[in-house]
Assembly symmetry: C2
């Protein structure tokens, strides 16, 4: 009962049952998403297109800076957390190995003093550009780290260091007002684009461009996926969202099992997207949501897999793999005495071994009736990365529409912020 | 209703209700664990003590090697996956920042060709010691990587390179027979110690010693925790296991929310321990298990927290924090125009901010009736790290005993291995 959908360079295979799924629900969700887009309420659908002009503008400004600093820029510093870092990390991690000429991106995210101290050692002011990213403008980790850096690197925003800083925030936010006060480079996140859907806005575009990634191709890949979806050519997205939301009581946990370390940060980006978008109180006052888990294959075959196979049948599993790693590392044809039983892998590229491990694990789950689907990227390039990000965003919007919730807010996290501030109120 | 237990340098606080927990069940589990230990069926309880002699032996052999190689060893290479790497990574990550003089440990775990290629760039044969770790001896990733390295580094096991290799495996395994054939350095894992409980056997002891960690102190910390538990002084472990297993239908997901990037690898080690030990078919044929999730604070306040607060009430949360990071990085007392609302954090050490964020998040969960407990390490040192590893192992054994399962096997993962081999059978 496998269904297979090929899109550009990505193959989607579904091996869960469509029995009992409401087609009207899928059509309704599709219409909700059309309305979100057409009304302009939700902006991420049009980001790839709208960001293209910004790329042109930003690229020329960055180019001038490069010339001015005599090509001495070696490090891109991203100061941001959550939606202001996860997407950049996902793209950076996926694409970095393919294109070795990029600059290094250093992330200052957490309020952990040890982690920050590590990162500071890798930054030299004179060889860096800094991207300060906060949608609301007042994120306590981000602004506190910014203040620490002003002191640590003896930064003069009203003088020589001004040009090294880029502020990315909502128009009119307190951080935007601060940027204007000092005449700093500023780029805005559209108001109708939420933080976790913002990677293809200035949030991701600016630092990735500065680091040397081919951002227009990433935007192209995302744009194609979104346009194909709205043209009715990617209806498997709705089928999958329908399966996951219809059976959410039965399968409250969704595992994303990526067979490459390259997928680790994409997994974390997906976890934010899925958890924060769908974990909500619905219109009837019910707590709803689906719990995402990111795993890495083949490593987590030796960790989490036992629980999926023999534990409670409460998980769906989405496998992700890379058909062609474009890396020829091989297992040589060596037979070691007493270890002959491992010879079946001799002469295989590791590329073949890891994908065979993915297939074998999938097969073992199918034999145990675990609902499974598989996403295979032909290879890792800018277009497939853009497309896969857009795919997960569309899937999330579809699931949110089917659950009748507000997919785009996060009211639950405010309480902790209030408690934190009160603690230090004088 | 907070209960607080202080052990050496660790404070355990429980803020979940003990109502409805069966004390006889806890006593029974305690007796099961006593029997496991006294009968010698389960060996990890006595590992810290039994490993002490090995430390003495191994240290002197490593010392001789250091002299022979004129102190040229800079890199410790660990070739292993799952239980053969996760525990080493957890300890290495936690303790590394405190003690900067250690050698770097490079891990070759996954069958991912890109990840392997990255790792290979960091290894120079002449400056490395190699630890090949596989309990069963036939782990396909590990042996395949070993073969690749024989070719890649032009290694001669019957000659000059012999001394650089350490084999860690079960006595009599196929890898042990191979080691004897070539006269390689060999250390064994006790047969009664499972892979995921093996970090304090030769698996962890050898590479960590070689890297320069104070392993005897780690063993001391673990030993104290275990002896105190069996002396009846850590009964909170049984209370927590009882809460988690009694309410497993209601709270099938257990979150470990560590407020420091230092805890990230500990989280992965715990995920293996909890998932693989408890995800089982029980004596009555029921699928049981608890799903672990590792989160990092404060980062995941911007990702997963919304789901915990507003989503289905199906999660327990264990916070972990470090009272004293021994790092003085501060937020300076700078007031930036328009950003004054962030001034409440001015003049705070990041150490204080991140712990206040942990406390505030905990408070917000308590207000929403999420079952919570907190583990506070006074600081990160060898003893606390040893103790916390032992704590999680004891908790897992207690939970397994209460669920009437075999905590120590992993039959579910065999099917995938068989399918993989069949695929390449000629």
């Amino acid at each position: 009962m496998q269904r297979r959908y090929n899109t550009q360079q990505i193959c989607f295979e579904q091996e869960f049952s469509l029995d009992g799924l409401d087609e009207a629900l899928q059509q309704q969700a599709f219409e909700v998403m059309q309305e979100e887009r057409q009304s302009g309420r939700i902006g991420y659908y049009d980001l790839p297109r709208n960001s293209a002009q910004m790329v042109y503008d930003a690229a020329s400004r960055l180019h001038k800076l490069e010339s001015k600093f005599s090509k001495s820029i070696q490090t891109i510093v991203v100061i941001g957390i959550g939606g202001s870092s996860l997407g950049i990390k996902a793209i950076d991690t996926l694409l970095h190995p393919a294109l070795r000429e990029q600059k290094e991106i250093v992330y200052l995210e957490n309020s952990d003093p040890v982690e920050l101290s590590y990162a500071l050692e890798r930054i030299h002011k004179g060889r860096s550009l800094f991207f300060l990213i906060s949608k609301s403008g007042g994120t306590i980790e981000t602004i506190s780290i910014f203040k620490m850096m002003l002191t640590h690197f003896n930064i003069h925003l009203d003088g020589a260091d001004k040009e090294r800083f880029f502020i990315i925030t909502d128009e009119g936010s307190i951080l935007s007002q601060f940027a204007k006060q000092y005449g700093l480079n500023e780029f805005n996140i559209p108001e109708n684009v939420g933080g976790r859907f913002s990677v293809l806005s200035a949030v991701g575009v600016l630092p990735l461009l500065a680091a040397g990634f081919n951002v227009p191709k990433i935007l192209d890949g995302a744009s194609s996926m979104i346009e194909r979806f709205f043209a009715g050519q990617e209806m498997h997205v709705l089928q999958k969202a329908a399966f996951m939301t219809t059976h959410k009581e039965h399968y409250p946990i969704n595992v994303l099992f990526g067979y490459s370390n390259l997928f680790e940060q994409l997994g974390k980006w997906f976890v934010q997207l899925w958890a924060e978008s769908l974990g909500k109180v619905d219109a009837q006052g019910n707590r709803v949501g689906l719990t995402p888990i990111g795993l890495t294959g083949a490593v987590d075959q030796h960790s989490f897999l036992q629980l999926i196979i023999e534990g409670p049948r409460n998980k769906t599993v989405t496998f992700m793999k890379i058909d062609n790693f474009e890396n020829g590392l091989m297992i040589p044809d060596i037979s070691l005495k007493f270890l002959e039983k491992t010879n079946f892998a001799n002469s295989l590229p590791f590329n073949t071994l890891i994908n065979a491990q993915c297939d074998a694990t999938k097969e073992s789950l199918l034999q145990c009736d675990v609902p499974v689907d598989t996403i295979t990227l032909a290879r890792i390039d800018e277009e497939t990365v853009g497309a896969i990000l857009a795919y997960f965003e569309l899937l999330t919007s579809a699931a949110g529409a089917m659950m009748h919730i507000n997919t785009y807010d996060q009211p639950g996290v405010e309480l902790g912020k209030v408690i934190l501030q009160k603690r230090f109120a004088k």
